[in-house]
């Protein structure tokens, strides 16, 4: 069972835009969707943290609700807002870094999710300056685009793979 965490404000139309596309990609695998304020136990095989609407940064005011990520021992993939939260949980810095639209990224480190330079869809005002707990997987001209925790199967991507790079999400859940 896969857990998809809805990072939008509760009841947001962002659910249709950032969560449902992930559900469609992981199908036919079994999954549950929970809002980030209501995640209780992590008895899942994988966890995906969704992105949000550009102006939706409510999750940043609720960082206490994400402490479970520190203890989590199953693979996690954080997308955009999800990457920011993963970064902050492991002492990274949140930085202003805006990208909207299609952007080129260059993989800098071998990893199981993507391998060649990619064109990806971006929609964010913030990125992270990762702490020493992460290795950088890929960057764009402006921002760090992908990280992996050095000791855990925790990945974060700043871009939205659900738009033009669905294989990344598929590889994550099939790993």
């Amino acid at each position: 069972m896969i857990l998809i965490v809805d990072m939008n404000y509760k009841g947001s139309l962002g659910f249709y835009e950032f969560v449902l596309p992930l559900c469609r990609i992981v199908e036919p695998l079994e999954y549950e969707v929970w809002h980030y304020t209501e995640v209780k136990d992590i008895e899942y095989q994988e966890v995906i943290l969704s992105g949000t609407a550009l102006k939706d940064t409510g999750y940043l005011r609720n960082m206490g609700l994400f402490e479970w990520i520190r203890e989590c021992d199953v693979p996690i993939l954080g997308i955009c807002a999800g990457l920011q939260v993963i970064g902050l949980v492991f002492d990274s810095l949140l930085i202003l870094c805006q990208e909207i639209g299609m952007t080129e990224i260059e993989p800098v480190k071998e990893n199981p999710l993507f391998s060649s330079p990619l064109t990806v869809y971006e929609l964010h005002n913030y990125g992270i300056d990762p702490s020493d707990e992460f290795e950088i997987l890929t960057t764009s001209e402006k921002c760090i685009q992908g990280v992996k925790h050095k000791k855990k199967e925790i990945y974060g991507v700043l871009f939205h793979p659900e738009v033009r790079n669905k294989d990344i999400v598929k590889r994550f859940v099939q790993e």
């Binding site: 404000y9 509760k10 009841g11 947001s12 139309l13 962002g14 659910f15 249709y16 835009e17 449902l20 596309p21 559900c23 469609r24 199908e27 079994e30 999954y31 549950e32 969707v33 929970w34 809002h35 209501e38 609407a53 550009l54 102006k55 939706d56 805006q98 909207i100 639209g101 299609m102 869809y121 929609l123 005002n125 659900e162 738009v163 033009r164």
Partner: protein
């Protein structure tokens, strides 16, 4: 079993303006927006260029009748339809909606077009507005089925690709038409919901319409595999 736990909106609904073309996608996005937020106006860009890059064109003058049928105010902006000028006009009309109706955000019917989504996101970001695309990446066949299940009355008002011909114009989208469109997708790679610009639609009724639109007079203009169903006269009918 797969479960999705939906939640009700918390706090005050957001005041939204919906980018409205009169076609099925923007009308269905409007329907979704009304479920959780407060739609305070419709925003429409009327392109004078028939091959508009951003906006749906046939029957666009029907949008004011549709707005009346929904009892929602409509803000319209004319554009010559020159690629980047359209964006300035779009920005102008969204800005006008912000000033007039104090909208906090914009909702669009974008499904697949990164070109369209990216540009609207940028404009909203510049104007400090929220931007929502509730149909984003939705399966096109599923979208058509939901429109029919939710009792929208939608006609095909423009066809722009082989082998679509005159016989499609004015047809109400129902399960039979969806079946045919899906077959065309397999055979000719035509997008069943017309997102690639192969078909254009006009909404005559939907659950949130206070009155439905009845077509009194129309004209078909056709040139091989490109044609439009021009609505010349309509009336609003009690439901």
């Amino acid at each position: 079993m797969t479960k999705i736990f939906m939640h009700n909106s918390e706090g005050k609904p957001m005041r939204l303006g919906v980018l409205f073309s009169g076609g099925k996608d923007s009308a269905y996005a409007l329907y979704k927006a009304m479920e959780t937020e407060e739609v305070v106006c419709l925003i429409s860009v009327v392109s004078q260029n028939e091959a508009s890059y951003m906006f749906h064109t046939p029957n666009i003058d029907v949008t004011s009748i549709q707005a009346e049928a929904m009892r929602l105010p409509l803000i319209q902006q004319l554009t010559e339809g020159i690629k980047e000028e359209e964006l300035k006009d779009l920005r102008r009309v969204i800005e006008k909606a912000k000033e007039t109706y104090t909208i906090e955000g914009v909702c669009t019917g974008a499904v697949e077009s990164v070109y369209q989504a990216e540009r609207i996101q940028r404009i909203c970001n510049d104007l400090e507005l929220w931007c929502f695309n509730p149909l984003w990446l939705k399966d096109q066949e599923e979208l058509l089925r939901e429109i029919v299940e939710n009792e929208f009355t939608v006609i095909i008002s423009g066809i722009f690709a082989y082998p679509l011909d005159e016989t499609w114009l004015g047809k109400v989208i129902d399960t039979q038409i969806i079946k045919k469109l899906v077959e065309l997708k397999k055979k000719y790679k035509i997008s069943p919901s017309g997102e690639g610009g192969e078909i254009e639609t006009t909404v005559l009724d939907a659950p949130f319409f206070k009155k439905r639109i009845e077509i009194v007079d129309f004209e078909i203009q056709i040139d091989k595999y490109s044609g439009v169903f021009i609505i010349k006269k309509v009336r609003l009918v009690e439901k």
